[in-house]
Amino acid sequence: MNAIKEQSAENWNVLRQILSNVRQAWSDETYRYFEARLLSELEKEHNMQQRAYAELEEAIRIAKSALTESR
């Protein structure tokens, strides 16, 4: 599960990297608008999902441990 969270984080990091590479293509005003209105929204959604992966990871760890105990 940790690999899944990392995979998702890696996808986001790649996107941020590409954005920083093309940053100069926009005027400051345009970039600020994009960052404030759209990128921040995407980041919020991404972070929310990352937390969900972490919680699921913990639930799977507990369940696996309980199954090991029962055997």
């Binding site: 790649v14 209105r37 959604e45 639930a59 799977i60 369940a63 029962s70």
Partner: protein
């Protein structure tokens, strides 16, 4: 600003747009992997619960048998000890309770995860198209400048948000060059016309090459497919593709199919929802509109498809200067 600089900007924004769509596509994989792990864990817990339940039944039968024997023994004045069977049953029942609690707790966590994932998907369905639309607007403006070869001074004057009036001015100023201006301009004007004239509401959608231009909805109609054409003679000319004529039910069905396929260039969280609507409504029942914008006359016509390929004028002579 030189044309090479403008081209470099366009390429940079296009590359980021592609990265954004790619990000959306790649985020599906972790979700699928998480679901696979959930399925595997649920199956393991189900199996453990079934095993614990079987153990309880076996212990129960053993205790019942022992008690029957004990009753017979008591009849003959003997004592028959069933304490080990009773203890085994208690142990098996405790294990079943424990596994059931673990399972319930896991199910609760999965429910929470799925609710968050649903919110995430809905967020991606709306935010991503907004972002790609914003980038498309940037690309369209720069493309337009490049094609009409406006000066660097005029470039600074471009409105950042909402460009319908600017587009109209561009058309007025550059009628001779408009056929070189990319389709994005026409689509933007078409979207404005449909919103203002017909009160249609644009749906979140990540436009891909060779797909729908725009998608809308209206009260009681979940999906309306829109094509936009800029044509100097003002005639309706739809492209013929391998999947049939643009706007035809076959074409809509094919595009819907492509958008539903994970891993295809057309798939995004938002487009998957559009594909679902195509399937739900049935391609033949989905209204298709085509707007033909004539840069020579500055007028636009709106056509709608009747039946499979019969296009009728819905409204003609729309003044593009109003947009």
């Amino acid at each position: 600003m030189s044309t090479n600089q403008i081209r470099a900007k366009i390429d940079a924004i296009k590359s980021f747009r592609a990265a954004l769509v790619n990000y959306s596509n790649k985020q599906r994989k972790p979700l699928e992997d998480a679901n696979q792990q959930i399925t595997a864990m649920k199956a393991a817990l189900d199996e453990a619960q079934s095993r614990a339940r079987r153990d309880v039944n076996v212990c129960m039968r053993a205790l019942n048998f022992c008690r029957a024997e004990a009753a017979r023994a008591a009849w003959h004045g003997f004592f028959w000890d069933c304490s080990s069977e009773a203890w085994a049953l208690q142990k098996a029942q405790a294990e079943l309770r424990r596994i059931s609690q673990v399972k319930a707790s896991f199910d609760q966590s999965v429910g929470k995860f799925r609710a968050t994932t649903q919110r995430y998907k809905q967020g991606m369905q709306t935010t991503l198209p907004k972002a790609t639309r914003f980038l498309d607007g940037n690309i369209t403006r720069l493309d337009a400048y490049l094609n009409v070869q406006l000066t660097g001074t005029a470039l600074v004057a471009v409105p950042l948000f909402g460009m319908a009036s600017w587009v109209a001015n561009t058309i007025q100023k550059s009628v001779g060059d408009i056929n070189r201006v990319k389709g994005g301009l026409g689509e933007e004007i078409s979207a404005q016309i449909l919103t203002k004239e017909f009160d249609l509401q644009e749906l979140p959608f990540d436009q891909a090459h060779h797909g729908f231009d725009r998608v809308f909805r209206a009260p009681g109609i979940s999906l309306i497919v829109v094509e936009s054409k800029i044509n100097r003679d003002g005639r309706l000319k739809l492209g013929q593709t391998n999947s049939g004529e643009q706007g035809s039910p076959e074409w809509i069905a094919a595009k819907g199919m492509e958008m539903s396929k994970t891993g295809s260039a057309q798939w995004t969280f938002a487009n998957e929802e559009i594909a679902r609507l195509v399937k739900e409504m049935g391609p033949s029942n989905i209204p298709a509109l085509t707007l033909v914008l004539n840069p020579e006359t500055g007028l636009g016509d709106v056509y709608f498809r009747q039946g499979d390929s019969n296009w009728k004028v819905l409204k003609s002579g729309i003044n593009l200067e109003d947009y």
